[in-house]
Amino acid sequence: MLIRHASRLCRIAAVATIALGAATTTATAGGKFVFANSSAYDTLDPHAIFDVGRVASRINLYDGLMRWFDNPPHLEPWLAEKVDISKDGLTYTFTLRDAKFHDGSPVEASDVVYSIDRILEMKKGAYSLFEGTVAPGSTKAPDAKTVVFTLSKPSAIFLATVPEIHVVNAELVKANEADGDLGTAWLSKNDAGSGSFQLKRYDPAIGWQAARFEDHFFGWDMVDNPLDEIEFRTVVEINSRVLGLMNGDFHGTDGYLPQDQVKRLRTSDHVVVQEEESMRIFYSIIHNARPPMNDINFRKALSYAFDYDGFIDNILSGSVARNPVPLPNNMWGSPMDANGYTLDLEKAKEHLAMVEGDVREITLGALAGYGQTEQAAALLQNGLNKIGVKTKIVAETWPVASGKMRDEEQMYDLLFLWKSTYYADPNNWLGEMYACEQIGARNNSWYCNEEVDKLLSEARVSTDQDLRKANYEKANRLLMEDAAGIFVYNTKWFGPFNKNAKGIRFSPIGNGQEMRWVSME
């Protein structure tokens, strides 16, 4: 009796489930592309955020004067038609194209001026790129089509950072300011851009949806059957993103998935995995100012005690490329002949024996929730254990770690992490990570070497490309010889996309998320 009832209940449940399914089946293909993003879109304000995880809202809803394309990335004028640079390298004059904001009003030079001044006043997002180089109020608009940036000091990287000045509709934002907030509350959930797509709907708990902007200045002739609509949804769980791609719910997700998930995706008939060498290095910061790490022999012992091949070939299944210096291999200024360190415990012992003073227990930092950093720390611990160096691993969340990184006392002895591409210039890595003036801010190694610093300072302001390249190559070698950090690999990007999606253009800065080039077959 009970079995009969149970069986009937199951049948009813199954029928109900199937009926519901039939009623709600939707077609997501055609002109719509759904991207499953691991980071939540907490805000859409392009001047409040600067992370790679949420780059899609910036590059699809907004335009900059310049834009990065492809891999290796090349910089092209975008909203700007041309740029003139003065001989002293201090004045950059941009001439704007004819372009419209999403509300139909023209993009004018005054909007660019408002945008850079807003960034400087908010002190958020990309502010640090312009701090000390562009003074508030120094950018002028002599006419509607001309913007003049007058730098406080020469900067060879200025042009490379210009794409981060996302141009907002000044009038619209000002009209929505409340209590002098520069329109941050309003712009966090609305769109004031001129980008290829126009915001349709936004829910911080779900993501955002945008429609193709027909009047975009670049036009749509270059793409056959461009997307009508894009949707970026927050899907935190890796498994859900992968399964969603496999069953066709999503058409793309981030390209830095664990290798087991990439392998799983490759087995799906619905998915193709696009592979590119990115510009995201994995390394360990070494606290160079604290004993015993302030002794070059101890740093060399650390570098010889790490099993690079074991980590890359076994743990990561060869999915990344060995990168022996702080600059990605595929970035100009990286010395092609640098071999770097290998696992050599005998050499590690030799250097350890030359260390002056006692060697205490070393703290190996890792980022909780980022398995690779913990695996790398464990691997180094194993190597150091064999040469008689005691260690302890401390895995903490990114907010904890990022706070400690800026404090000389609290900083770990070593910390494994990645350095991403914010702009494609060697200064993004070497200048940020090892210039003396960045100590405590972006130089979390407390490393200051007069010779390296001179090379970096010179390269930061010079307009002579050959000199810059030579300086960066030399600085790379010096940093490697100095064992300033443990430099492990450069990431490969494995972008999983629905097999019907065509035209994905990967750039390390945009991570293949600029949707204007994409179509669905």
Binding site: L2, A14, T17, I18, L20, G21, A23, T24, T26, A40, D42, T43, A48, I49, F50, K123, K124, G125, A126, Y127, S128, L129, E131, T184, A185, S188, K189, R201, D203, P204, A205, I206, Q209, R233, T234, V235, V236, E237, N239, S240, L243, G244, M246, N247, D249, G369, T397, W398, P399, V400, S402, G403, K404, M405, R406, Q410, E432, G440, A441, R442
Partner: protein, 334 residues
């Protein structure tokens, strides 16, 4: 009368309870060595940028001052601004709370509707094959991690059989929010297609969430029924020739349910806790996911807001349980 006094008493205790909860959570979240401002500012931020943001958000002040400012703000209905999103916390909570509550209500309803009858059946046929099968079910319900079960359900029902959606709350973006409860909003506007979509999306997360709760309900109902079934008044009813079905469902169950209903209040707290995991797997845009992100980002105000709201929901749920005792057992009503 006794119920009214009880209700007022509980409501009065709500304030000091929440204050205590707030003080503990505030202290814990602020003494961990995290620096949310450095996190928010990004890894390229300068020291000046971080200092300016700290001053802006008031986190450069001593912790007691921050706590005092926060309590004053909450008393005026201001939960502060999220360090991360810069939106009012109240807005974030209001937009996400209905999703979590809807999931929790449906789950608890499922637990009760399925768990109570099965618990009764297990008790009536004690030590029968059905009782043994249900025992395995309840042990599994309590032992299996919600995260693992959720992924299994996804693989079986969404990927293999293709009869349920994989994730999300609704196809598309859902109905225009009135209450924020999609089932109610879509039914209210007569949008039955959306209603079906919401119900369809609800199946896997609700079943996952209700599985351990159902096991608890079943165990407590079984124990309660066994206890009641051996009472003198049941012997009396049996001796009077009252049909067994009537005895069980009218007399035994009513007494047996008191323990179960008490458990439902406590289970509600567990449901909210488990929702954090289930929401993450099923990409359910509720408060659980918000809480996880807030904790990972050390977004103090968001953590405080979440804790306060969930504390209040938990206390109110238990208050309702106390009131319902009076309805089930007239002796409790005084």
């Amino acid at each position: 009368m006794r119920e009214l006094v009880l209700t007022l008493n509980r409501l009065l205790w709500l304030v000091p309870t929440l204050l205590g909860l707030l003080a503990i959570t505030f202290t814990i979240s602020h003494i961990i060595p995290a620096d949310p401002i450095a996190f928010i500012a990004g890894d390229n931020a300068s020291a000046e940028q971080i200092a300016a943001l700290k001053a802006k958000f008031g986190v450069d002040k001593p912790i007691p001052v921050q706590l005092w400012n926060y309590v004053i703000g909450v008393a005026q209905g201001d939960f502060g601004v999220s360090l991360y999103t810069q939106r009012p916390i109240a807005d974030d909570l209001v937009s996400r709370l209905p999703a979590t509550l809807e999931l929790a209500f449906v789950s608890i309803l499922l637990s009760a509707v399925i768990g109570i009858p099965l618990g009764v059946l297990a008790a009536i046929d004690r030590n029968s094959w059905l009782d043994h099968v249900l025992r395995v079910f309840t042990v599994s319900g309590l032992a299996i991690a919600a995260f693992w079960l959720a992924i299994l359900f996804q693989l079986l029902f969404a990927m293999e059989l293709g009869i349920t959606p994989l994730q999300g709350r609704v196809d598309g973006w859902g109905p225009e929010p009135v209450t924020g409860f999609f089932l109610i909003d879509s039914a209210w506007t007569g949008d039955w297609e959306t209603f079906r979509s919401v119900a369809h999306h609800m199946i896997l997360p609700a079943v996952t969430l209700s599985f351990p709760a159902m096991a608890t309900v079943m165990r407590f109902t079984r124990a309660g029924v066994l206890d009641a079934i051996n009472s003198n008044y049941v012997d009396y009813q049996n001796a009077m020739g009252v049909p067994r079905r009537v005895v069980v469902w009218r007399y035994v169950l009513r007494n047996a349910l008191i323990g179960t209903v008490t458990q439902l209040g406590l289970i509600f707290g567990n449901l909210i806790a488990n929702a954090v995991v289930v929401e993450a797997v099923f990409d359910w845009p509720g408060l659980g996911l918000y809480a996880v992100n807030s904790i990972l980002q050390s977004d103090y105000n968001a953590i405080m807001g979440f804790t306060l709201v969930m504390g209040a929901v938990f206390i109110i749920a238990n208050l309702l349980v106390d009131i319902s005792h009076g309805l089930i057992d007239p002796r409790e009503a005084g």
